[in-house]
């Protein structure tokens, strides 16, 4: 049996945002900040991690795990 981990408010948020996208041409500006922020933050983290002693090896392991996950 599949357990639904999300509550009703989460579903309602999806509806509210989809309505906003349909009705407000400025949605892209808000969306860009959100999407770019995540990429910028993740890249900043990985660059810092790569500078540490074990960082490059950890990144290699993370990448290998991702490749394995997507090959099953």
């Amino acid at each position: 049996m599949k357990i639904n981990m999300r509550d009703k408010s989460h579903d309602e948020q999806i509806e509210r945002w989809a309505d906003y996208v349909r009705n407000n041409p400025d949605w892209k500006k808000k969306h860009k900040k959100f999407i770019d922020g995540q990429i910028i933050m993740a890249n900043r983290f990985y660059k810092k991690l790569a500078e540490t002693a074990e960082g490059k090896a950890i990144i290699q392991e993370l990448r290998a795990a991702k490749i394995r996950k997507n090959s099953v």
């Binding site: 639904n4 509806e15 945002w17 309505d19 041409p25 890249n43 991702k66 090959s71």
Partner: protein, 189 residues
Amino acid sequence: MKREVTDKTILDKFLEDFIRIADKYVKYIVVSGFVSIAHGRSRGTEDIDMIFERISKEKFKELHFALIKGGFECIQSDNPEIIYDDYLNSGTAIRYTKKGEFLPEAEVKFAKDSLDEYQIKTRMKLPLTGLDVYFSSIEMNIAFKEELLKSDKDMEDAKHLRLIYRGKINEQEIEKIKKQIRKLRFNED
């Protein structure tokens, strides 16, 4: 709803750079999470998933070297023979990033069955995204998310697409695709 240049996200620019090169060598489609994100879904992703039509090793080598020249690198290997034989041709996705960058990644697989070939055959540009690239159809994305992938994230993506394209979705096509998914991916009759 034309997108201004300044509205383009890092993901949009990465994809357009990648496709500008790939389009000269192979028929492709952009699938999965990025399709929803390009339609405004507010969630994260690390990669942009793509399916390529099957091409020969020679043609892939040309594509790979063009991508390298264009500033990309393949995470798995620098050697296109290894990338083709050990990954692409064995059904494993390959990943390209901008050289020296960690994210985003382009995750590329070859079409693996008649359903993937149908996805490529029915590919389309989706003007609402403001992007000049080919996507698998909205019906295809909804069907895969609701019938095959089914995680919370995927079901929410499908819901978002259904809301964005309310009144314009071909439900018969979705059912037809779901039937093919059950047949080809779950081996059901």
